[in-house]
């Protein structure tokens, strides 16, 4: 039998092949379609721009934890900066330790600038964008990271 003379496919085997094939195509399509539903089109979430109050209320050299916002606001000679207190490992909230931050869940340790000094955290604690609102209040946008060392001067 040559390539030019392929074996004849009977009508019955062609039809059964087609029905099995279409079943699996339909199954695959349905599976993809069903995965699309639980994959949210819109990610709902609270606004993560926080108004922290007028700059005067934070003295130079101060650090102010904002527990509900999961961040710590610092002020030094160069200005303001905010460091997120959400661990970059698995999302627990880090607490202030003697020389930086420590995570209660898996033992990641960061120095007071947020750099990793121990434990499993893959990245330093993010520095967050600090700005001022129309009335002069400090605003931290927790969705916007800025490079480490970025200070906001008042």
């Amino acid at each position: 039998m040559s390539r030019l003379d392929p074996p004849r496919v009977s009508r019955r085997s062609f039809l059964s092949l087609a029905s099995v094939g279409s079943f699996f195509v339909a199954l695959g399509t349905a599976a993809v379609g069903m995965l699309r539903l639980p994959n949210p089109a819109v990610l709902p979430g609270p606004v993560r721009r926080f108004k922290l109050g007028p700059p005067e209320q934070f003295s130079a050299g101060s650090e102010t934890p904002f527990a509900d916002q999961n961040l710590v606001l610092f002020r030094d000679d160069e200005g303001f900066y905010a460091i997120s207190s959400t661990c970059t490992h698995l999302g627990c909230t880090v607490a202030r330790s003697k020389d930086g931050f420590a995570c209660p869940c898996h033992g990641s340790r960061f120095n007071s600038k947020g750099s990793v000094v121990g434990g499993p955290a893959p990245r330093p604690l993010p520095w967050l964008e600090v700005s001022r609102g129309a009335n002069g209040d400090l605003i931290v946008n927790a969705d916007n990271e800025v490079p480490e060392g970025t200070h906001y001067r008042v």
Binding site: L35, P38, N39, P40, L43, P44, G45, P46, A67, D68, N70, H89, L90, G91, C92, T93, A95, S97, A102, C103, P104, C105, H106, G107, R109, S115, V116, V117, G118, G119, P120, P122, R123
Partner: protein
């Protein structure tokens, strides 16, 4: 005519209880002969998954310790108590915690039912793990039972998933931070994709996290998803797989057992047990035949007994023991409920339930390696066992082939030494990040105590493979290492990890805060 109809009616009315009873049970009476005993088995929807005769060897308690049945029993207990808890539980972030408190403090028997649910689920996890170890060490995964080993692994995964989704529902501190950590573990492939810089194009981690949370924060969307998984999807999957599991036990020829000695099997137990009563009016139908080397028909005496009542007594007693253990635990020990979920601050230390603490220890080395890759490697490794160890022998006997026991003990000591040594080293000297603060994350993902455990255990198993020239012994060494690693890591994280995941000899030394 009218009078006879009335009489007939009254007669039927009088006979009503008996006729209703007879219609329910196809046999209609206590079985008296072996034929009727087998009918009692295969004429009953719930019993007919059993073979009508069962080998005495498989009834011996020390072969199985009834572990599979105890797992099933504890699942049935969680199923029933779970439905009861659903009556009051409200899957809403505002109401969940209060509804659990209501169940605990106000609902009549609510506290007891919740305790039973919790203890049965803990027991289920423990017993499923022990059952797997039993099946492994009695070599019961060998042909033709390879597929059922895979089904069993699926059941193990579903059992753990049910436990995990279960303790998320009270929306207390444990729940909230477990969801946070769990969804971030699902997100942890990003550790890898970030390290090689492809997250923008391929982001399986982000997809998994979105699928679990349904939002970019842990809230109502996440709770309802885990609720649906816990009360519907996972139990349905478990029941389905459980059906396949049981069906395959039957079709694969019952529990694994060694070949009976040829001709006459009287050596075992010293009694001869005839298969068929000489006076049986009818031979057994095909229902009595199961997959095996030879059908038992016309084969003379063999070491089997009727399933009714012998097997059913045994099963019932395992079931009752499981219920009793659960009830006693539930009576004396309350299921915990921590403080209301607080998104601002986790507990310190924030510990998972015991069966995930080994995993938590691994995750504290690297989220991706410990939380995703190693569990995946372990599962794939376990799944491959029956397909790599294919030489028959030792089925249905504890440590059945030669040298198994000694390899088991050697591996036990080896794995203990490696695990303790590695943990002691990590606690004392830290790991790469402490020595090279600027090291690339990729190095830590690849080289950490967890991945070294896997490597060393695999190397040990290869060493046994070469030295003992036996695939089964290599599998024994690897499985023993896995069990020891799991147990020791669980113990270590339970007892010796304290606030900030620091090492402490005892919880009493934890600093007050």
């Amino acid at each position: 005519m009218a009078e006879t109809a009335t009489k007939e009616f009254l007669h039927n009315l009088h006979e009503l209880p008996q006729t209703v009873k007879d219609s329910c049970f196809r046999l209609g009476k206590e079985p008296e002969s072996e034929r009727e005993e087998s009918q009692a088995t295969f004429h009953n929807l719930f019993l007919h998954i059993h073979s009508v005769r069962v080998h005495v060897r498989t009834l011996k308690p020390t072969l199985t310790f009834g572990l599979g049945l105890a797992a099933t029993a504890s699942f049935l207990i969680t199923l029933i108590t779970g439905v009861l808890l659903m009556v009051y539980y409200k899957p809403s972030t505002d109401l969940a915690y209060q509804s659990i408190k209501d169940i605990h403090f106000t609902v009549s028997t609510g506290r007891f039912i919740r305790n039973i649910h919790r203890w049965a689920s803990q027991l289920m996890v423990l017993v499923v793990l022990l059952h797997m170890a039993r099946v492994f060490f009695t070599a019961s995964y060998k042909k033709p039972r390879e597929f059922n080993w895979l089904v069993g692994l699926g059941l193990l995964v579903i059992t753990l998933a049910l436990s995990f989704t279960g303790y998320l529902l009270p929306w207390d501190q444990l729940a909230y931070w477990a969801i946070t950590i769990g969804s971030n573990i699902a997100n942890s492939p990003r550790e890898l994709t970030d390290a090689i810089g492809i997250t923008k194009f391929v982001d399986p981690g982000g997809f998994q996290k979105r699928l679990l949370l349904g939002a970019n924060y842990v809230g109502q969307d996440a709770l309802i998803r885990f609720y649906v998984l816990h009360v519907f999807v996972l139990p349905l999957a478990l029941v389905t797989l459980l059906g396949v599991h049981f069906w395959r036990i039957r079709k694969d020829g019952g529990l694994a057992k060694p070949e009976d000695p040829p001709g006459g099997l009287a050596e075992w137990g010293g009694e001869r047990r005839p298969v068929f009563q000489p006076l049986a009016t009818k031979t057994y139908g095909l229902m009595a035949l199961v997959k095996g080397k030879r059908p038992p028909v016309n084969r003379g005496p063999e070491n089997t007994v009727m399933s009714w009542p012998h097997l059913f007594w045994a099963e019932l007693s395992v079931f009752m023991v499981t219920v009793a253990v659960t009830l006693i635990l539930a009576f004396y020990s309350d299921a915990p409920l921590k403080e209301l979920a607080n998104a601002a601050i986790p507990e310190n230390p924030a510990k998972a339930p015991w069966y995930f603490l080994g995993l938590q220890e691994l995750v504290s080395y690297s989220a991706f390696m410990g939380g995703m890759l190693i569990p995946m490697i372990v599962l794939v490794g376990l799944a491959l066992i029956p397909f790599l160890d294919r030489r028959p022998g030792g089925e249905g006997t504890w440590f059945g082939t030669s040298h198994e026991r000694s390899v088991f003990w050697q591996s036990l000591f080896f794995a203990c030494a490696v695990t303790v040594g590695m943990l002691a080293f990590t606690v004392n000297y830290g790991w790469l990040r402490n020595w090279f603060p600027n090291i690339q994350q990729l190095w830590i993902i690849v080289i950490n105590p967890g991945s070294l455990f896997v490597l060393i255990f695999a190397a040990w198993s290869l060493f046994i493979l070469k030295r003992k020239n036996s695939v089964r012994l290599a599998a024994v060494s690897l499985f023993t290492c896995f069990l020891v690693g799991f147990t020791l890591l669980t113990y270590f994280a339970t007892v010796h990890r304290g606030p900030n995941w620091h090492f402490y000899w005892w919880p009493s030394q934890w600093p007050a805060h």
